[in-house]
Subunit: 208 residues, 2 copies
Amino acid sequence: MTFGFLIFPGLEELDLVGPWEMISMWSKHLQGPETCLTVAQTRDPVICAKGLSINPSAAFSGCPQLDYLLVPGGQGTREQVNNDVLIRFVAEQARGCRATLSVCTGSFILHRAGLLAGRRATTHWSSLARLAELGGVEVVQERVVRDGNVWTAAGVSAGIDLALAFIESVAGETVAGKVQFGTEYFPSSRRYGDLHQSPQAPAYLRRC
Amino acid sequence: MTFGFLIFPGLEELDLVGPWEMISMWSKHLQGPETCLTVAQTRDPVICAKGLSINPSAAFSGCPQLDYLLVPGGQGTREQVNNDVLIRFVAEQARGCRATLSVCTGSFILHRAGLLAGRRATTHWSSLARLAELGGVEVVQERVVRDGNVWTAAGVSAGIDLALAFIESVAGETVAGKVQFGTEYFPSSRRYGDLHQSPQAPAYLRRC
């Protein structure tokens, strides 16, 4: 099994590396996918939204058929939805994938590739209305959404929760628990201030 | 202000990018440090523990005096504690820093650089005993530990909680809340299985 992580200029760093950590821990220590790849249009370094510079492990042209594909979000998605080469890569890979996943505004790339048609999906709280306006998708205000073999997560850090839920679905709760323990992912429940109760906050937060 | 993130071969990806995301969000949108740098011994690409390849933004030789320095952990720390050039860089920078921080086994690098002498500190649950055996440090089983201007976090994902607590200490709760909201860091409290109650689990987890 090969798990691919799409990378492109302006991706949000934690959208990518949160799931990368969980999936690659599963891969390396718990008999998860044999290979984890970062894949970009070319092999040039990719500069992320906050300036981190990452070297892809594969270019589209040399990328094997993936079993799983994850698409991060970030400011760069606003440009990439108009990148036909990237959208075609996602659409074609997804046809052969067991599952396709996105984090944050990565869902706009899935939408453009036709993967959200008639499905429930989510995105960062600040982009929920914008995704709904595109039409052809049922936008829900949950942290992690699964609709068949398409998984979407809310903003940035929600990709970590997505990844653990995904690992459980493929490999079971015991394996997900070992990844959680290995990465010591038992986050503080501290809430700084009260923005999670503001009108902009997504429904899953306001009902807590 | 300049916030530097030490990078070296074999660092654990999320140890670095969790705090990077929070600090760089603060930097870019909320008047945090003007500059966030990744700094390595040379400008060559750094291959992380799970294979991600990152290009440093500065080498030790060209690095300005930092105001804050964060040291991630990972398997690579076992070699880096014996890298005199790296340890000297950390020790010398820390003298001029307002705060020095580590995530996971990054605390072993702080220890070797003399920064934990007589202080309370923590590390990944699987390395707590090993850190205590080094002596000269009071090892505590908390998720985030502050002792004066030295901050240490527990394993991997704990760096995110460390970063928010640190931002609050410097810029106040409102700013930390905006970073939390921007990164949608309201994690699931789901616990997969019961390893958090096992004898190996750190005290902060077992008492939950």
